[in-house]
Amino acid sequence: MAWYNRKDKKFKDSEKKSIPDGLWEKCISCDEVLFRPELDKNLCVCHHCQHHFRVSSAVYLDLLLDKGSETQLFSTLESKDFLGFKAGKKYSTQITGAKRKTGDHDAIKVYSGKLNEKPIILGVMNFAFIGGSMGSVVGEAVSRAIKTAGKKKIPLVLICSSGGARMQEGAVSLMQLAKTSAHLAKFSQEGGLYISVLTDPTTGGVTASYGMLGDIILAEPGALIGFAGPRVIKQTIGQDLPKGFQRAEFLLEKGFIDHIVPRSEMKDKLSRLIGLLT
């Protein structure tokens, strides 16, 4: 065991103060302190407990698409504060802040590219952008991704991570559930293959639309997946939630996903599924 993985709690706490910011990361699952470059090399998966950290879209892009095969699509779409929404922070301020923080234009990036030489359309959501919330831009980008996959007759893969609909866009954000589902209905009728990959966390409106509408639904280990958030459920029923509730393993047991796939095996699994179904 490397010295930075020592389980001595006292040592770890004092050590934490002296280590430079950004070079070390504490695993939120097993409490181990992890060396950032090692963690990055391991696709941001803790090598002790296999906890899958939330990652930016760049990680999936590197992981899934053949080097140099990708073209980013629809990156000119930008959110707009059409309701003049104010609740504490202004929505327009939140958008600007999220763009600065993530370097992304909104909570999804869409690419056309090749996965083991098979052309696909890939959409990757980013939880760091206003909780991966789905507003008009995400709704439009997903819809265009579906249409493009349909036109080119190639598979669609969406990597989901989202807290749900973007309430700063009011009922219009709710309409994005309807819009994306209607496009998927058409895509499915025309024989298109859609695989959804649920990562931590996928809740609310995204789960209740394209998240749960894949021909095949995959999930990363330990990912929180559900309709209502655990806090809301706890509040409503006034009791503690069972251990492992709403985790990927729970959904697999209840029959709502096809497979739990570790990040390191995701490309291979997708490639085989696409090979078998197209």
């Binding site: 000119t76 779409l77 930008e78 959110s79 707009k80 059409f82 309701l83 929404f85 104010k86 609740a87 504490g88 507003g135 008009s136 831009v137 439009e140 819809s143 609909a165 309430m167 866009e169 009011g170 009922a171 219009v172 954000s173 709710l174 309409m175 994005q176 559930l177 309807a178 819009k179 589902s181 209607a182 496009h183 998927l184 209905a185 058409k186 009728q189 609310g204 409106g205 789960t207 209740a208 639309s209 394209y210 998240g211 749960m212 509408l213 997946i225 559900g226 309709f227 209502a228 809301v232 459920i233 409503t236 029923i237 939630l241 069972p242 509730f245 709403q246 209840k254 029959g255 709502f256």
Partner: protein
């Protein structure tokens, strides 16, 4: 006279009570009859005044008024020969939603409505109108039946949200709603959705994909309840009135945005003061809308719905 008064309706209660008292006199004098007429006139004016400038929060409260007509009140009058159809054929029957078939005027139709309870006991049975996955699956079964036999579909939305519970999650609340969104988009029958009370989020949308979206005058439709929004964004559910303003959830705002196609007027003082007029207004509107939708080739409904929902997004596109 309603049994329950919202705080802004309190001044009306006084006049209601005065009229009731005068009317209860066994042998009223000319004087008394005159006073009744005068007080009724005063009441009419007061109601008009109170109701002409409702703020969003007041309208949210009206949508939740415990004396408002619920789905079964509408169904009883709209569809005299209604036959209820129960169960999802997989797990159970969800009493939070009522579905069935019957005649609306000359037409055979299918209707699905979220149902609240009038008292505690009935509310426990109806789960306060909060559907579970089996409810969405029952609704889908009836939709497919309607499509098979060519009956247009009416859905009545009145829910504080889909039920957030352990069992509901175990049985796939998200999957059940998502499935309905996809299947409803492709139904080859006309669909009219009507908000008759509360239209909260995915819980309402799970039966709410439609060609024409109607709202009763004193209702709301939103991605989240004002309380939910306030507790997330202000960390204080007590700020619900402010959240109700921000969310733009009342019919007139939603009509401006393009989500609501038609607002159904309620009688003076709201649907709870005169259920029959409210229900008749809706009946007329539905029949007019159906007459128009019946001219559409059923094969085109999916494309028409895609076009409709495509327009309901607002973003900018940088060149």
């Amino acid at each position: 006279m309603p049994k329950y008064y919202l705080d802004f309706e309190e001044p009306i209660r006084e006049l209601d009570e005065r009229i009731l008292e005068l009317e209860s006199q066994t042998d009223p004098t000319q004087e008394t009859l005159k006073e009744i007429a005068k007080t009724q006139g005063k009441r009419h004016q007061l109601i008009e005044k109170v109701y002409s400038k409702l703020n969003p929060w007041q309208r949210v409260q009206l949508a939740r008024h415990p004396n408002r007509p619920y789905s079964l009140d509408y169904i009883q009058i709209l569809i005299p020969d209604f036959i209820e159809l129960h169960g999802d054929r997989y797990f159970s029957d969800d009493p939070a939603v009522v579905s069935g078939i019957g005649h609306l005027g000359e037409r055979r139709i299918a209707i699905i409505g979220q149902q609240k309870g009038r008292d505690t006991k009935e509310n426990l049975y109806r789960n306060f109108g909060m559907m579970r996955p089996e409810g969405y699956r029952k609704a889908l079964r009836v939709m497919n039946l309607a499509e098979k036999f060519g009956l247009p579909l009416i859905t009545l939305m009145d829910t504080p949200g889909a039920f957030p519970g352990i069992g509901a999650e175990e049985r796939g609340q998200a999957e059940a709603i998502a499935r309905n969104l996809l299947e409803m988009s492709a139904l080859k029958i006309p669909i009219i959705g009507v908000v008759i009370g509360e239209g909260a989020s995915g819980g309402a949308l799970g039966i709410g994909i439609c060609d024409r979206f109607l709202m009763m005058e004193n209702t709301w439709y939103s991605v989240i309840s004002p309380e939910g929004c306030a507790s997330i964004l202000f960390r204080d559910a007590g700020k619900a009135p402010e959240a109700a303003e921000s969310l733009k959830l009342v019919p007139s705002d939603l009509q401006e945005i393009g989500i609501c196609d038609r607002i159904i007027p309620e009688p003076n003082g709201g649907a709870h003061r005169d259920k029959d007029s409210a229900i008749n207004n809706l009946s007329q509107a539905i029949q007019e809308e159906l007459a128009a939708l019946e001219k559409i080739n059923p094969e085109n409904f999916l494309d028409i719905r895609i076009e409709k929902y495509d327009a309901l997004g607002f973003y900018q596109e940088l060149k």
